[in-house]
Amino acid sequence: MNIELINVWYRYSKSKDWALKEISITFRSSEIVYIDGHNGSGKTTLLKIASLMYRPTKGFITINNKNFWSLNEEKKTLFRRRVVYVHEKPILLRGTVLDNILYGLRIRGIDIEEALDISLNILSMFGIDDLINKPIQKLSTGQAQLVAIARALAVKPDILFLDEPFSNLDKEKRKAVINILNEFQTKGMGIVFSSHNIDIDGLSRYRRIVLENGVIASIYE
């Protein structure tokens, strides 16, 4: 799967300033991309546009050479199911950890037994299977972040977009998450994450895009 942003500009409805300008870039399955930039540089906006949530004010988004925003609602949903975005501040549903992991699977029509298997596996990978029946109000911020990432991975998207996924995690947990992400990438999943000032081993292996004031300042392949 390829998501191509062609000369994308974005302005929030109540703002006069452009949050993104002249963005042309392609995100693909099977690669890890790291988006770097200061606060307010446009990282979150870029991720939300690339993950098919926000419609660009100007420019085009094509997926496998199809203009996404000209598709009907049904086709849009089909593409959206192949792409998942994880918010910087984890948004969890009321209920337990399991309810949250199941949600993405159930809306895709996966039957409950298979969904339970997938949920248990993914929670085990993250080492948080003991939290399965824990109400989300009782999770720490770090645990909530892990649940949100696990929930996204459970549906096995073609490309996963993660907004500051390490911001609430300690160094050990960061390393564990990076290892899991690497594992999914080797199985063909594309992973795009934003972050700044992070200390992760092997970061230089990933394609790095640096944003400054809403424009791509540099790309390191």
């Binding site: 199911r81 918010h87 009321r94 929930r151 996204a152």
Partner: protein, 215 residues
Amino acid sequence: MKAMAEIIDTILRSIMVSGVATLMASLWSIPLAYLFVFRNRGSVFIEAVIETLVGIPTVLLGLLLYILFSSSGLLGFLGLLYTPQAIIIGESILVTPLIISISYRSIRGIAHLYYEFALSIGANRVQRMRLIVSQSLPGVVAACITGFSRAIGELGIAMMIGGNIKGYTRVMTTAIALEVAKGNFEEAIILGIVLLLITIAISIAIKLISRVYVA
């Protein structure tokens, strides 16, 4: 003994009348609140109108309904004046803006967040709406509780179009007013305490229900 039976009868009638009024008001107020959030147009105007109506004096509403239900009024032929049904209609109208206002604010507060989340995980349009509805349910329940509290503690409408008829339209608030006027403070205080306890008990019960609710 007879006095106690009368008090219990009044309490039960109050709960029934306010409960039905709140239920009726919820039937149209909750869908309207969701509609206002999802349409997302003219929100400033809608908020202004609803908030103005929240503060409408109950005596004014009672007067308008009295004119409407009186024998020479537009709806006089229905024979509703001085009936429990008239109080139910009046209270349901009274609490409608309140339920809409509180529901609207609570839904609007989370709708954007859960809409984005649902979009981000691949929910279709119906699933997105369902998610927002399920996640906003505690706020909506809280709005109904507030509506019930307002209805059960209301005096003006119950007095003006209910008439405070013993054993028929007498509710706790009108009974309290009558007992105070008669100088029977003991009965008035009992009813006042019961009124307070009912409101607190229902609030606690429904909050507990909404806490264990799983999306």
